[in-house]
């Protein structure tokens, strides 16, 4: 499925804004992303497996707060990161 990556994490994806990854849940999707782009998961998920508070996940434009949330192959996942610039 399509995953949209925020600018601060694009150093992991070769500057790609949109990448493909698979998973039946958000957690699995992140594990797959980490296989493709090593290190990217840790920037989003902390040592206790909690979503970092400046990172948010949206599936088809709706926020998911649980890594166990189910995904279907046609879903679009948006990863958000807080930006400070102005």
């Amino acid at each position: 499925m399509k995953v949209f990556v925020p600018t601060p994490l694009r150093s992991y994806t070769g500057q790609l804004a949109c990448v493909e990854a698979q998973g039946a849940t958000v957690g699995e999707l992140l594990a797959d992303l980490d296989r493709r782009y090593p290190g990217i998961r840790f920037r989003m998920i902390d040592e206790q497996d909690a979503i970092r508070p400046h990172i948010r996940f949206f599936v088809n434009a709706e926020q998911v707060r649980d890594l166990g949330a189910a995904l279907r192959p046609a879903d679009e996942v948006q990863i958000l990161q807080a930006l400070s610039g102005g």
Partner: protein, 401 residues
Amino acid sequence: MAKRDKTSRTPAAPPAWATGADGLPAVSQEELLRYGRHLILPEVGLQGQRRLKASSVLLVGAGGLGSPLALYLAAAGVGRIGIVDFDRVEESNLQRQVLYGASSLGRAKIEAAETRLADLNPHVEIEAHEARLTSANALDLLRRYDVVADGTDNFPTRYLVNDACVLLGKPNAYGSIFRFEGQASVFDARRGPCYRCLYPEPPPPGLVPSCAEGGVLGVLPGVIGLIQGVEILKLLLDLGETLIGRLLLFDALAMRFREVRLGKDPTCPICSEQPTIRELIDYEAFCGLTPAPADAESFEIGPRELAAALARGETTLIDVREPHEHEIAHIEGARLIPLGRLPESLGELDSSEQIVLHCHTGERSMRALEFLRQSGFRKLRNLRGGIDAWSREVDPEVPRY
């Protein structure tokens, strides 16, 4: 408009728009001409234009986002525009901060903005607040305006603006930018989520570059700032559908807008029913930005001292800037590890060696130093003034940017 033939005999009472008898501000003939294109919009009209004149907006920050906002809000006739900023105009601002020109260089932004906006529209009042927005002055400042626009460049001020808006019940027209990406929304805790509902905490300091460090496309703040501007006019005129409850994402490279829905967080520390934050807090501390460690200076090394240490082969020099900055200018022998990559590169560093960190001007490398220190490294130094100082004091062949 009054019909002349019917009123020519007895002198007609002047219309309310000319006297303000109906409670809205009066407008002059000059203003009627100036705002003509608004007046013929049924959604705005003369009443709407007078409502704009009666309204007030506070711009927090007069930089990339604040510049286009200030220009367009003044042109549109928002009656009272407050601007809070404490910076001076620098050359590197002019690539995107269109409020200023070559003649503003070195002047206080507030002052230069006042001059420019007074020329643009003498019918609006500009209130210049040359200050840093703090927990001590924020409530008194924000209280006096109908809408607040968050155009700052740092997380502590963004949380401060949010919290003050929630406590005062004001809408916050929000925008933020980085490189080619922008985000915009309207946070109004009375009608929807606040900024903390979206991002409960900022990223840890140091690991995400600011625009000063990571760069920003000059036109981007124009796009995002004016989205804030449109939302502000809609809020003031009570028009259309605002971004309350939605976050608009803009990717300039793909030239695509995306949108996500935002809900109120029932556990939000400030805007939920059981808030844990009831007054403004210490935002530097909240964002993990303890003021530069008291001993920061003792970690510094000057450019000449570094040159001598390098000549003796006693030190490992690490450049924490980005690869394209390295391409513009670098110090011979420095190893490039961009700040964002530092955590995963720890294993490649030898904590028994003397390590000197450098960046463009010394800020990012200080954060890198703090990070390494917390990771157990002890023999650390930060190049004072970065590669910029190196170019000025040691090797003028290294270009400055």
